[in-house]
């Protein structure tokens, strides 16, 4: 079992979600986050006063999938979230030790 975290551009959320639903990813958790990487921030201008905004709004999506789904999931996110411009985001993959479904008590692959 792997956790896949993807930080993406907010306006790509719908595309990525639909693409993942098509390949059978059954759930995800989405958080509105702020941050910066190579894109850095942007500047805002009010009556000639320029303010630099360091942290840009992004969406972080987390999903947990079985080993055999990892590659396909990652590829799907990359494909759906890519614009080719700086600031498209990053994907992190990590191990998951245990999963429990609260309603039934099912564990691990049963609970994905």
């Amino acid at each position: 079992m792997k956790r896949i975290e993807a930080v993406i551009k907010p306006f790509k959320l719908e595309d990525v979600k639909d693409a993942l639903a098509e390949i059978g990813v059954t759930g995800m958790t989405v958080t509105e986050v702020k941050g910066y990487g190579r894109q850095k921030g942007h500047s805002e201008l009010y009556r000639g006063a320029e303010y630099v905004v360091d942290f840009l709004p992004k969406i972080k999506m987390e999903m947990v999938v079985s080993e055999d789904m990892v590659e396909q999931t990652v590829n799907t996110v990359v494909e759906a979230a890519r614009t080719g411009k700086i600031g498209d985001g990053k994907i992190f993959v990590s191990d998951i030790e245990k999963i429990i479904r609260i309603r039934t008590g099912e564990e691990d692959s049963e609970a994905i």
Binding site: E44, L45, Y46, R47, G48, Y51
Partner: protein
């Protein structure tokens, strides 16, 4: 206006002439104009300023504008009107005296020319109130609310009324006799309000953290809506200053719209050129700069005059906001000085240069009497100098009195940090 003011004097009970007759068209127009000018303050200016304020202080800014309006209007009835439009006797050059305090001696049947004097009193009261309110933009987010309200009441009587008297107070008044052309208040309202704002900004001091920390407007959308409401109300401000439903009001409608449109386009183009982006806040600022600039000229210039007044008015205000303010380092938070004073100053001077030589439009003065344009320009210079001086001195005096009466004019640092909405008013702009 001048002709009309002579008529006002004649309309006083002791001098009433048989031919004074109420005109329903004029009366209807002046009543509508009054309501339009009212809209400019507790809706237009309040949203224009509120939108530019940080979200923790937006209600306080709105309350300063609304508060200034209500307090100033009461002060206007109590003594302001009398000081502005009453008979000043031996001091007629400078003030109107207290003879009409609380409107004593004025009856509901009295006419000001062709419409009721009471309508004139309210119409002029809305001018007094917006002038006071303009200055609030310079000292938002840190001035004490109690000090501000006391200041607004005193300033209406001590500064606004004498200036109004000198410019519009009828025969014997200093600048009126000199022949100053100020159609609807470039000197009386905008230079006056804008300069008093700058003086207050110096006296109250900068906001904590200015200009190092980012102070972002809560909503440019509200500011743009405020500018639109100001524009709408300005038809009463300038159109109503023709004091009748007539062709001069029609001219004021045209010049007001044209100069404003030109000013907004100009500001956008400057930003596009200088910063590569035309901001909505810039366009809204251009709208207000144009409205201010055309105010003294509205009933005196033609199409080409209106275009010049609007375009240069925008350039001057942009310079004030984006260059002068940074150089001098004062915290005129919402640019009451940069926009109202500078565009008002430009408009007042430009009126002398661009007023058309048409004696049916001109008021008595060098240009009308002898076609002396240079002389007229010098009168315009005299009027801005006198108004500037009185505003400067009067504002300092009134601020110190208001500050002494309320135990200091500025909120403490913690209040400023938390925000005035929560600490002063106990409410929030939005509960999301």
């Amino acid at each position: 206006m001048k002709k009309w003011l002579v008529a006002l004097l004649l309309a006083l009970p002791s001098l009433a002439l048989a031919e004074d007759k109420l005109d329903t068209g004029d009366t209807a127009w002046m009543m509508v104009s009054t309501a339009l000018v009212l809209l400019m303050t507790p809706a237009g200016l309040a949203l224009f300023y509120g939108g530019m304020t940080r979200s923790k202080n937006v209600l306080n800014t709105y309350a300063m504008v609304l508060g200034a309006f209500v307090v100033a209007f009461i002060a206007w009835i109590a003594a302001g009107y009398s000081m502005a439009f009453g008979d000043g006797g031996s001091l007629q050059s400078f003030i109107g005296g207290f003879g009409n305090a609380f409107l004593s001696g004025i009856s509901w049947t009295d006419l000001s020319g062709t419409y009721p004097t009471y309508v004139f009193v309210v119409f002029q009261g809305t001018f007094a109130a917006i002038t006071v309110a303009i200055a609030s933009g310079s000292v938002i987010e840190r001035m004490k609310f109690s000090t501000w309200l006391v200041y607004a009441a005193l300033w209406t009587i001590v500064v606004y009324a004498p200036i109004t008297h000198m410019v519009w107070g009828g025969d014997g008044a200093l600048l009126f006799d000199a022949g100053a052309l100020d159609f609807a208040g470039g000197t009386v309202v905008h230079m006056n309000g804008g300069l008093s704002g700058l003086v207050l900004a110096y006296l109250v001091g900068k906001r904590n953290g200015y200009p190092k920390i980012a102070m972002k407007p809560m909503s440019v959308m509200l500011t743009a809506l405020g500018a639109a409401l100001l524009w709408f109300g300005w038809y009463g401000f300038n159109g109503g200053s023709a004091f009748g439903a007539n062709a001069i009001a029609g001219l004021a409608y045209l010049t007001t719209t044209l100069a404003t449109a030109v000013a907004a386009v100009t500001w956008m183009l400057i930003e596009w050129f200088v910063y590569k982006k035309p901001t909505l806040l810039g366009a809204a600022s251009g709208v207000v700069a144009g409205l201010v600039a055309i105010t003294p000229a509205a009933g005196f210039v033609d199409v080409s005059g209106a275009i010049i007044v609007g375009a240069i008015g925008s350039v001057v205000a942009f310079f004030g906001v984006a260059v002068l303010k940074k150089k001098l380092g004062y915290d005129d938070s919402l640019d009451a000085f940069g926009i109202h004073f500078l565009a008002g100053l430009w408009g007042a001077l430009a009126t002398g240069v661009l007023a058309v030589a048409d004696n049916d439009l001109l008021w008595d003065g060098p240009l009308k009497e002898s076609g002396d344009r240079m002389g007229q320009f010098m009168v315009q210079v005299e009027s801005v100098a006198v108004v500037g001086l009185v505003t400067l001195v009067g504002t300092v005096v009134v601020y110190y009195i208001a500050s002494a009466l309320t135990g200091g004019g500025r909120v403490d640092e913690e209040t400023e940090q938390i925000g005035l909405d929560e600490t002063v008013h106990g409410e929030k702009a939005m509960n999301l």
